[in-house]
Amino acid sequence: MTIVLALAITAVALPLIVLLPPLNGFGTQRDFVGGFADAGVFVLLAIGLNVVVGFAGLLDLGYAAFFAIGAYTYAYGASPFSGLDIPFWPMLLVGALVAAMFGVLLGAPTLRLRGDYLAIVTLGFGEIVPVVFLNADTYTRGTNGITGLSQPSLYGIFGINGFGFTDPWPYFLTVLIVIAVAFSFLYRLQDSRVGRAWVAIREDELAAASMGINTITTKLLAFSIGASTSGLAGVFYASKLSIVSPDQFGFTVSFTVLAMVVLGGMGNIWGAAAGAFIVYEIQSQGLKQLGAFVQSLHVPTLALGPVSVNLGAIDFINFQYLLYGLALVLMMLLRPEGLFPSRRRRSELHATPDDAADSADVLVQA
């Protein structure tokens, strides 16, 4: 219930925040709500990846592939291309299930191996999936993508039929509800037997196995739950945009979501969500506003010896991935638990001298 309450407060508070100066200068409330709805997709992606990376300690580098699979599943379920028009709400589940299925197919053989092999297999899978959507054009319309996907509808409940293209509010509320459901599900899971098994595996897989935990199925569960959340996000994304095309699901999406989770705090659902929200807003609005702001200052060109720096001419957007990269490295070195850590994860990631003594590798440091 607390989650529902917290999200209800978010639903009211977020749109009100934008009325405050100086934010109100950047757009109307509707503009902000539209942006929040888009950010919601990444919040979903991040809390899903958090299950894989944060809870189970596995690295999934092809996360965008499941996002793509969810989106294309919706495109097959509700577009003129397939001739079907299955309603959005069941398709949410279908998309999640199909993505989970691919997750199991990919994870089952791989999760038997060591953790970093999963990272590579998923990276390869993430490269293959867009190529397949691109080249199998008979079935996917190739590079043109599938267009005209149906919009969600409430069939007249609250007087809402199709969500339409102009009003962002229904999408904003929908994504909040989907996030709330995912949140409460994941919270329960985290505190359940399975959640504790994930922690055990993450901290010491051998010990976990010897305590009777089936490490493969437990890891597989985490992996497929992550995949299904990604698929869910894909269905929502596709329905809001009404198109899918292969170029929207590249490695940069996987990388961005990973940066969101690491920044926010691995293992902490709220942290991952906050990381996603903040990073999304920075990349879609923040850096552009920063550029405009610096230009408006009319800083004179600085001459530092032979190098002259014109701050006004710097396009901050170009530094986006450089900043992500720096953030990943610095976080791992200095604050591996993220900006909003979970208590347990923090204690794990800061190896105390006691922990290190367990490891033979301590000799290396000597």
């Binding site: 990376v53 300690g57 690295l59 580098l61 990919l106 053989p109 791989t110 038997r112 191996l113 060591r114 953790g115 970093d116 092999y117 990272a119 590579i120 297999v121 990276l123 390869g124 899978f125 490269e127 293959i128 190529v131 397949v132 080249n135 993450r202 897989e205 051998l206 196995a209 490695f251 990388f255 990973l258 690491v262 691995m266 170009n318 530094f319 991935y321 450089l322 992500y324 990269g325 720096l326 953030a327 990943l328 490295v329 791992m332 070195l333 591996p336 794990e348 990631l349 190896a351 290190a356 490891s359 033979a360 590798d361 301590v362 000799l363 290396v364 440091q365």
Partner: protein, 354 residues
């Protein structure tokens, strides 16, 4: 899944059967190409007519394979010694190509150098500078980003490596060029004929250089004191330390050599293709990693073989008219090998450390 660290022999000597396997594989690859050329419906070639083309495609495959092999060696060496998938390695290759671009353009070269002595001198200089610079960059990265995480959970160095890869790529993107850069092709575009076989000078140079570096690496690892230190560190870091091996120096040396080889591959990239661009490292790195996995990660001989296999896979996709699927073929191979034969083609026991 044995958790027997001792069973791993990452820098193992070349198995006696490796040359036979390689020769056999090359013959098979040649015939796959030949059949592809013969089967090409647009050409209607006779068997005799197809041979020169198949031979040219074979050279193409070996040349690109040599580049992948050079990159793959660095992946496999680093993995062998600290079990880290160094995602930044592909970007080292990219940076190496930019170092040689910078050097050659600064020296004022723009095209082929016809004076053989000058050419050899400039080549030695380009390779020396690029390999040295990238070797140092590799060591610095290890020192700053990876060393502190040697005892951290496995996830941490992996994520750091991804971060480093984005840092390198975007430093070049922001500071040097956000688009394709043309590099001087100083080796003359000559075709050499050896009886029935014709081969471009640059192709021959690339293949000889790569094989030479591989042999040198093999001799270094198997015959020298430092090489022995590397092998022992890879097998059991703790025991090696007890036996008086300086672990930090040995690991730094591994990074230096691996990165220098990637730097050499970067120079070849510029000489062979005449261009470089900030984002070539990602795809090339992933393909080279596939090569390393194919050969059995941690195994240097396997990585070299794997590089050639990837080269052949790409050329065969193109010859068979399926070029648009070449990426899917290579990465599909990566997934399949990891799933069904994670020990690679030269398979040795590589269990789950758990």
């Amino acid at each position: 899944m044995t958790s027997a660290t001792a069973a791993r022999r990452p820098f193992a000597a070349i198995p006696w059967r490796a040359p036979l396997v390689a020769a056999f594989a090359l013959v098979i690859a040649y015939f796959v190409i030949l059949v592809g050329v013969l089967a090409d419906p647009s050409q209607h070639l006779t068997f005799v007519g197809a041979i020169p083309q198949a031979q040219a495609q074979f050279i193409n495959a070996v040349t690109i394979g040599a580049i992948y092999a050079l990159i793959a060696l660095g992946y496999t060496m680093v993995y062998g010694i600290i079990e880290l998938i160094n995602f930044a390695h592909g970007e080292i290759f990219m940076c190496g190509s930019f170092v040689s671009w910078w050097l050659l353009t600064t020296l004022g070269f723009s095209g082929a150098i016809s004076d053989p002595l000058l050419l050899i001198g400039v080549l030695i200089l380009a390779f020396a500078v690029s390999m040295l610079v990238m070797g140092i960059v590799g060591v610095v990265i290890e020192r700053l980003a990876y060393r502190r995480l040697r005892n951290a959970p496995r996830l941490a160095p992996l994520i750091t490596a991804i971060g480093v890869s984005f840092i390198l790529q975007n430093i070049v993107f922001v500071a040097i060029s956000n688009s394709i850069v043309t590099t001087p092709q100083i080796i003359p575009n000559t075709v050499l004929t050896f009886g029935p076989v014709t081969v471009g000078l640059i192709n021959l140079f690339t293949i000889v250089l790569a094989v030479g570096l591989m042999v040198a690496l093999h001799l270094f690892i198997s015959r020298t004191r430092l090489g022995r230190a590397m092998r022992s560190t890879a097998i059991d870091r703790e025991a090696a330390q007890l036996m008086g091996v300086d672990i930090n120096t040995t690991i730094a040396l591994t990074f230096f050599i691996g990165s220098a080889l990637a730097g050499a591959a970067g120079v070849v990239q510029g000489l062979y293709f005449g261009i470089t661009v900030f984002n070539i490292g990602f795809q090339a790195g992933l393909k080279a990693f596939t090569a390393a996995v194919l050969g059995g990660i941690g195994n240097t001989t396997g990585a070299a073989l794997g590089g050639f296999v990837i080269g052949f896979l790409e050329v065969i996709s193109s010859v068979w008219g399926q070029g648009r699927w070449s990426e899917a073929v290579v990465f599909g191979m990566l997934v399949l090998v990891l799933v069904f034969r994670p020990t690679g083609i030269l398979g040795q026991q590589l269990g789950d450390r758990a």
